[in-house]
Point group: C2
Chain length 507, copies 2
């Protein structure tokens, strides 16, 4: 490779590093806002965040980035290096996306969605859909304009341009092909569970523990599975999240109540799964470039879901953790055996609220949202008809009659904040997790034994090597193919759920 | 005022606001580093901080700032407004200072001082002065170059240019005029105390309290004196500090041990004093301009010292707080009467370490440093001779024989981090606090009664109106003159210390 283009590649990386550094500062502003900031700091925090976001965006869309990128792409020697070639492919993707959107549209979306979220907080509290109607209409209109600017990949529909922001390389048609048989196998499973005479004893959820001891306990769990507290920390927030503040600093939060330590364990494992993915991305070598970034939201979610569900709701996991729970949280847990805890963390019960749903019903919530938002962007559904369609689907899919929109169409922040195309990545995460889990069981024939002994480091090392360290080198569908030898399918998730729930519910 | 210059003033404020917003983001990076950041985040944090500092500096030194400032200064109508005129005067001061320093010198200082601090941490731990010698020589040389670029105000000596960074409007000759009689009255007072037969019972410092209860207690103290926790928070750090993160967000930290709650009270009051000054600056109206900024380090320190000492080491204060201490921290404190606590928080004992020194001896530590750093910049003292001169002065001023440089010339971070001209502001703070306190006692004849009843809000309101809300409208010496009717003098501090310590030590 010539000196001139090596310099071009270095200069390109240096510009992107500055943009990413500003982005990381924005992450600190957000983390601090959610976990530490005193109330009176709120108004000015928006000004800090929008300045930093603007400066980061200016660098990302600097015409110099386009010039340097063109020079690098034209250099055959640079492209002979497969990692650099992949990096350039993804930098091109980001640059084209960032420069295709007119800045007035970016500003309008940012202001509208910020106000939309404020309006949503009020409307949800009052369960007042009519107050949100004009905002949802703006969100649909702005997202259609955005999709038109970006253009749908692979000549697909407009919605695919939005989806591509969150799950690059996946189209809604491809998702539909997977979701359809998934629903066809989930529905009878859920019906059979509902009809089963087995009702798990949920009283383990009612054993109280003081907050400081709960925090120590979930920190023990997170540390045991491999989350690195030297490169992160765990705080309390209303809505749990993970946030990377910079190289060597990927933080997580969890949510607690005065008692009920079992749910915080699941929440913490979920966020620790995100956090361990972030800690495993090769930032030291590639910070600022796509090689150091997460592959897709679906892959990110596969990591959180795997630790939360495949690991954290498994019987071997609880055979390891239950004695520690008794040791660390006291005698209130003495009367619970492993089977009882295992059954209670896997109770299936259709719920109005997505985030409170179990492994089996959760995906029905997602498919409902996917169908609805796709229809909104297609123009097949008017915002006026949203609550009606939502409630019909809740009835037909989950057998629930939605009593008020607060428990229905108004429950999620995603649409008010302008995110359309985001929801399907949750179920894609479940699908990827299950498909990876099949492979992992082949690699580690004694996986259950390892989990039962609290040995999680071989699993984490495998995830590091095969997923985390890859960054955005391969698009998610290709990563899945490389790891599992197959394209993404509904079967591993269906097999996993049936294998878990049939014995639990005596089916 | 004409539309054109109103626009110039608005544009000027807008540019400065962007620079100050970046500065506030830098403050968050620093606060987080000292209180929250996990260890592995440290290396990258420097990159984040230096990028933000560079961007803030670019805006401050933008030639457009100079153009707009010139246009505003030339407009008679703008200058007819006394507040705007003061603002322009201070903006000019900042702009000239920022643009007088060549950027290569700024970079060299920043790198040298960062490494100097690292070297100092090692050298202090080993008590190895020879390892620091080359760094101190660089610090002196770079500070001389800096002072030459800035130029000494009022035609004074080179050192005054450095002092002017921290205490605008004050020269070393003026300080000397105050420090000389201060030393002449302090020295016999300290000698008399040393010769006194009265030895305070210090056992209240040894009553243990659990950390969480200590934190609740000092938060109660900070809240009681008026620190606003809706616009701030209190965290733990190795070195206590206060940091403003933005409008409505001025945080403080304190330091704790497993027991010894009395010293954390003093530390917390000190930082709450800084924090309340920050909370009282008129940021909502003037953020980004000097009217929203602290007058000087000396005035800042006057606020922390007044709450720590004039309030927090007074007998009325402890007659109010002692019952709360017994109520909140348990029966270990039951046997202590108010007089006993009051005597123990005012024990005088010469100490090697400045930050562990009492109110009486503290200022001798500062005067020693002032004389030495002034001589270094004048060229009257070589770095080689530093430990010798230091140890001679400790012997003659405080009667102490320094056993190793760790407890002597290597104890402070200020010189390693390149700060020369900073030290005198500590004693200036004590002097301002004492002089303001005389005025405050005139304004509130029942001040002792108010403190004894825990009524601190009238005092805070007076400080808000007379000091905090003024920002940089008046230079510190003028502010002192306006408030007290007199120039700064050694007398109020000497009178205050003698009035306190003579009865305590039976003199």
């Amino acid at each position: 490779m010539t000196t001139a283009t090596l310099t071009a590649y270095d200069e390109l990386k240096s510009l992107l590093r500055e943009s990413a550094t500003l982005g990381s500062v924005g992450s600190l502003l957000n983390w601090d806002q959610e976990t530490q900031m005193p109330p009176k700091g709120g108004a000015f925090r928006g000004e800090q965040a929008s300045l930093i976001a603007r400066l980061a965006h200016e660098r990302l869309t600097d015409p110099r980035v386009g010039e340097l990128l063109g020079a690098c792409e034209a250099d055959p020697e640079l492209n002979a290096d497969a990692a650099i070639k992949a990096n350039l492919r993804e930098i091109r993707r980001d640059y084209d996306k960032a420069t295709k959107l007119p800045s007035e549209l970016v500003t309008e979306m940012s202001l509208t969605f910020a106000h939309g979220v404020e309006a949503w907080r009020v409307a949800r509290a009052k369960s007042d859909f009519s107050a949100m109607k004009p905002w949802y209409e703006k969100v649909v209109a702005l997202n259609r304009r955005k999709a038109e600017c970006l253009g749908a990949p692979k000549g697909g529909e407009l919605y695919d341009a939005l989806l591509d922001e969150f799950e690059p390389g996946m189209t809604s048609a491809e998702i539909e092909v997977i979701f359809k048989p998934l629903r066809e196998r989930l529905t009878p499973l859920i019906a059979a569970i509902a009809g089963s005479g087995v009702k798990p004893d949920l009283s383990v959820h009612d054993v109280p523990s003081p907050l400081p001891e709960q925090i120590k306990f979930v920190e023990f769990v997170a540390r045991s599975v491999g989350y690195d507290f030297e490169a992160g920390r765990l705080d309390i927030s209303t809505h749990p999240f993970s946030e990377t503040i910079g190289i060597g600093d990927s933080r997580i939060t969890s949510r607690f109540t005065d008692s009920h330590v079992v749910e915080p364990v699941a929440t913490t494992l979920h966020e620790a799964g995100h956090g361990m993915y972030e800690q495993g991305l090769p930032r030291s070598a590639h910070f600022g470039t796509p090689l150091a970034e997460a592959c897709s939201l679906g892959i990110h979610e596969s990591q959180s879901r795997m630790w939360e569900n495949q690991v954290g709701r498994s019987r071997p996991f609880w055979s390891w953790l239950t004695p520690h729970m008794k040791r660390m949280l006291g005698s209130g847990f003495d009367r619970f055996g492993v089977d009882q805890v295992y059954a209670s963390v896997n109770a299936v019960k259709p719920h109005f609220i997505r985030v409170e749903s179990d492994e089996a019903t959760y995906n029905l919530h997602i498919m409902l949202r996917f169908d609805i938002e796709r229809a909104l962007i297609r123009g097949d559904l008017r915002v006026d008809d949203l609550p009606g369609v939502w409630n019909e689907r809740m009835k037909s899919d989950l057998g629930l009659t939605v009593p008020e929109d607060r428990l229905g169409v108004l429950q999620d922040i995603h649409w008010p904040m302008g995110a359309i195309g985001y929801f399907p990545t949750y179920t894609l995460g479940n699908l990827y997790a299950a498909q990876f889990w099949v492979k992992i069981n082949e690699v580690f024939p004694d996986l259950d034994g390892m989990m039962g002994r609290g040995e999680f480091s071989p699993l984490l090392a495998w995830l590091r090597e095969n997923i985390h360290s890859q960054g955005r080198r391969y698009p998610a569908p290709e990563l899945c193919q490389r790891i599992t030898g197959k394209g993404l399918s509904h079967e591993p998730l269906c097999d996993y759920l049936e294998a878990k729930f049939r014995p639990l519910y005596g089916l």
